[in-house]
Each structure stands twice: as structure tokens, then as C-alpha cells.
Symmetry: C2
Subunit: 329 residues, 2 copies
């Protein structure tokens, strides 16, 4: 089996297996009323909106649940539960959703971070490939992957199920500070124990893109219309991206916050995944303040789907305000 064949099997097979039957079922429902109520399938997890002449598509990658205990390092469990309950979220576990931001500039098809990749169908995360297919986005047509940072849920999708490049025709842009840290195993002992797997994992995930990786300085332009905004702390090189076309702009906030209902409401909370919690908090306050002051439309990796809205100042913290849903793009 060649790499090309296995790649086609991994991505094409998933698309055929997961998406086509849903389409066929939909088509059948139009022509022949069923005897029993239609199977209650969920709507596909994608959503589109314009930024000037650009089109953004957000794609749901499912969610992950972990114990709430220990998720916020500097607050008692009861206080964290109270903040989640104010947003009517579960309090018995920390539910973390994943939403990937795609950008079509008209000439470039871009994805920000790669999703969780191919996981067993029983997993609650790893739904990006089927939702990309529903949105009509072919991974072979992505020509630019822009990374915010190298945590597993952001880089694992660089590989398909066969271990080859999931985006075979893409250049990959990485923050230089992020690349410098995680490509030097001499930094292992200076990294939090829970993050040390990032060294080997990122080496493996970026391997098939050798020769197509471009390191980007903080604040530099990725391509016309996309500029990096350093937001270090969550990881050594964690980076947001400002998207602009004409007078319209939007910012991909990546992991500036985990769920905004928790970390935007309480920017002083230190999440367990932060590499340097003090620096992460300073970056979070700076970026959220900029988004709120300039009323910039934002997307976020762990924001509630469709992960498209605005940041409002609210008391001593901030609040995520979902944008109005539109039936047209």
C-alpha cells in the first residue's frame, strides 16, 4: 500500500463511510415519506461568515470531558462550579469543545490549527474530518496550515489515520518561539511535567511536512490579510492571528482562553494546561481587552460552537457574546 493509497483510504474512506449515508438518507427522505419518524440526526457542525471579501468557516471537532477538580489551579472547586453554573454548563466535569477555523481568502485556503485528527468513532472528539466533508472542504485543497501552538489537540490532526500528512499540499506556518522551544529537547526539564510529551509528539506530527515549514516572528505577516499576534504563556510561543480584509477584521484567539464562560469571565483563573500561568493571564487580559475595546469579531478553539462572536467587558472580567446566526453567508 503506497502512502497515496493509504491517505486516500484514511480520508476518503472516512468521508465515504461517515458522510455519504447521511446524504443518501436525506435524499431518500425527500422522495418517499418514511413510515416512522426520521432518525433524529444532528445538523452538521459547520458555520460560515464573511470578513470583508474573505469567507470564514468554523468546523466542530467534538468535545472532551475531564475532571473539573484540578482544572483551575488557583481556585477552589466550588468557586469554579459557580462560574460554570452561571452559564448553565455542566459542573460535574469540565466539558471542552473544539472548533477549527478555516479561511478562504479567494486565493488561499487556510486552516488555523489541525484538530484532534483521526480517532475511534466512539471518541467524542475527532469529528473534524466528517464536518469538513459536510462543509465541502477537501483537506487536499488546504494550501496553508497556520499553527497557534503545539499542544496535542492542535497538532494531532496534522497526520491522517495512516500517519501521513493530512494536508498533503499545505505549507505550515509556525510561531518561531513555539518551534524553538519544542524542537530543543534540552528544554524538557524546564517544561511542566504534564507538557513534556509535547516534544516527541510535535516532532512526529510535523515530520511529513519537512521542507514546507515556515517559522514566523511575533507580529509578522503570514500572508496578506493574516498577521500574528503574540500571546505567549499558555505555551512559550502561543500566538493569535488577526484576519483583515478592507475595513473588516476578525481574530482567531486560539487558547487565549479555554472555555470563555470560565476563563473570559474569570481571566484570573489559571488553567492546568498553561505553561506559564502568570504570562498566560497577562496575555489573556491584553488580548481580551483589545477584542472588547475594538469590538473585533473573534473565533476561539475552545469556544462554544459555532465559536463566532464578540468579547464584552463585564464587571472585572469579560463575556463571550455569540454573533447572530445567519441563514446566508
Amino acid at each position: 500500500m503506497t502512502d497515496t493509497t493509504s491517505r486516500r483510504l484514511a480520508l476518503g474512506g472516512l468521508a465515504a463511510g461517515l458522510v455519504a449515508p447521511a446524504l443518501l438518507k436525506g435524499a431518500a427522505a425527500q422522495t418517499a415519506p418514511a413510515a416512522a419518524p426520521a432518525a433524529a440526526s444532528q445538523a452538521p457542525g459547520f458555520y460560515r461568515f464573511k470578513v470583508g471579501g474573505f469567507t470564514v468557516t468554523t468546523v466542530h471537532d467534538g468535545f472532551f470531558e475531564r475532571p473539573l477538580q484540578g482544572f483551575v489551579r488557583n481556585a477552589p472547586l466550588e468557586e469554579v462550579q459557580k462560574v460554570l453554573a452561571e452559564s448553565f454548563l455542566p459542573t460535574e466535569a469540565m466539558r471542552i469543545p473544539f472548533t477549527i477555523t478555516f479561511l478562504d481568502t479567494g486565493s488561499r485556503l487556510v486552516v488555523f490549527d489541525s484538530g484532534n485528527g483521526v480517532l475511534p468513532p466512539t471518541a467524542t472528539q475527532g469529528k473534524m474530518i466528517q464536518n469538513m466533508a459536510a462543509a465541502g472542504i477537501d483537506p487536499a485543497r488546504i494550501d496553508l496550515v497556520v499553527m497557534s501552538h503545539f499542544h496535542g489537540d492542535h497538532v494531532n490532526g496534522l497526520l491522517n489515520g495512516a500517519g501521513a500528512a493530512a494536508f498533503p499540499n499545505a505549507e505550515v506556518v509556525v510561531p518561531a518561539a513555539e518551534w524553538a522551544w519544542w524542537s530543543d529537547t534540552g528544554n524538557e526539564t524546564r517544561s511542566p511535567e504534564g507538557q513534556r510529551a509535547t516534544f516527541a509528539n510535535s516532532a512526529r506530527r510535523f515530520a511529513p511536512y519537512q521542507g514546507k515549514i515556515r517559522q514566523l516572528a511575533a507580529g509578522a505577516e503570514v500572508i496578506p490579510g493574516i498577521r500574528s499576534v503574540a500571546a505567549h504563556g499558555h505555551t512559550p510561543g502561543h500566538t493569535c492571528y488577526l484576519i483583515a480584509d478592507g475595513n473588516a477584521q476578525a481574530m482567531f484567539l486560539a487558547d487565549t482562553t479555554n472555555r470563555p464562560e470560565l476563563l473570559a469571565r474569570r481571566p484570573d483563573f489559571h488553567a492546568v494546561f498553561d505553561f506559564d500561568a502568570q504570562m498566560a493571564e497577562a496575555s489573556r487580559r491584553r488580548i481580551l481587552d483589545q477584542a472588547a475595546t475594538d469590538r473585533i469579531r473573534v473565533t476561539g478553539y475552545h469556544f462554544p460552537f459555532p465559536a463566532n462572536g464578540y468579547i464584552a467587558k463585564d464587571g472585572s472580567g469579560y463575556r463571550f457574546v455569540p454573533a447572530d446566526w445567519s441563514s446566508s453567508v
Copy 2:
């Protein structure tokens, strides 16, 4: 042309014309990568969630824009604009979305209000039929239509494009107080001038359902699992419905508020469409307080899609908190 034929043409024709090509295009995208980026079509406008063993599907019917000036009768334009801006909504016009709530109890397939019905494809509202089709809901399988009140955007969809019953196999439940008012043309001179068309329009819309209309007393059970909750004022018989299965419950708020970003934030605002603004405000405060206190999941006819969430007390008003989006039902 018989009534049956014209009905099939009107609904079946719309489904074939509007939905099938989208499905075909989706299927083609799976098998043959396009040379150019995929057409940036929006995701279909439906969303599902469970209430106990029941399944709720909300279906988007598009939106309508009207001048903001005059929409709130008892506040200056600038004050209304400020409230909308806090939720990052347009301030140059009042954008009113429509979302229809369906309920599958396992034995009954129910729709609450009928949508705007068939409108020219250029209209921004009237998208319910194509989004129902995307959700796999066949109007011929609806066996119960439950009305909140008789304003045009809630009853017009009772007729299909040929003027016949859009839900040919459905019983129609109406609040007795609503029926009593609008079926007696002697009330015309005692109704606000802007609402007098409701008499003739509701007579026409309910006509093909003669013999299948059941009047319901305030607080009475519609079917097991659905109970009416009087919320008079927006119209003489405006009614919400409490849905319950086991310990789970949800409430369809209908027009207790127009957009919650405006009327839940400011329950003291009197919207132009209210029949009796003082009574509408008292009902609004009572219902919102109940939803907030009991943390009941709600849907609303003019809530931002998917129109599924909770009501939180916030200062002297309330705030709509969308429920977390789930990739499964």
C-alpha cells in the same frame, strides 16, 4: 388540478427544487474534488436536543428587518440602539429572526406555530420549508400544530403555496382566549389599528383545518407532556407551552419577548406589536422570572438560532444564555 395535486406540487416541488440540488452538490463534493474552492453555502438551519425521552428540533425560518425607529414605543431610539449594541446586534434596523420549535414525543410529531409559510425565494424569511426538509421533517407527518397566538408570522405557514393545508394530517390546538378574540369581528374596533388585519388573515389561514381545531383553556394539557401557560398581553390569548418528560422540562416562550437581547434585557420596553403593552410586560416578567428561577431550558420564536438556551437574571433585567452546542442529539 385537485387540492391534493396542488398541495403535492407546492410542498414537494419546493422540497425538490430547493433541497435536492444542495444534497447532490454535497455528494459530488465527496467523490470528486473541485478545481475551485467549494461554493460557500451555509449549514442547514436546524438543531436537535433531548428533553427527557422527547426530541426537540428547532428550525430556522429566516429573518425580517424593519425600521428600528418606532419598534419600542416607550424609549428613545438612542436608548434602544445602546441595548442592541451591547449584544453586538445591528442598530440601523431591527433584525427579527424566526425559529420554529418541533417536538417528537415518540408517538406524536408536534410543531409550535407554523412559520411564515411560502414566500418568494428573494424573501429573507420563509425558509422553514427548506430547513424542515434538511432536518428530515415531512409536513404531512406532523399530527399536531399548537398555536401560541394568531399574528401573521405565526399562522401564515398554516397554508402552503397553493392555499391548502400545509399540515394536511394535523389537529390544530389554539388558546381559547385567542380564538374567542380574533374569531369575533365585533372586536375589530377594540383592537389596535395595526392588528386589525389579524381577523381576516386568521380566518383564512385556519379555514382548511375546519373540524380539526381544538380550543384549549389556559393552563390545560395539550397532550401528555405539553401544558399551556397563559402569557396574555402580546395578544389577548398569547400562550407559552411547558414541555415535560420525566424530570426534564423545557418551555416554548413564543413571543413573551421579541429578541431577548432587547426585551429580556429590558422587560420594561414596550414593543410595537404588543396588543396590551402593560399586560404583555407583566406576563413577560412573570414568565422570565419563572424560567430563570427554575433554570428551565427555553426556546423562543424570535430568539437567535438555534433559539435554545436559558434565562439568567442580570441586573434589573434578564439575559438569554445559549445552551452549549452538541454534535450529538
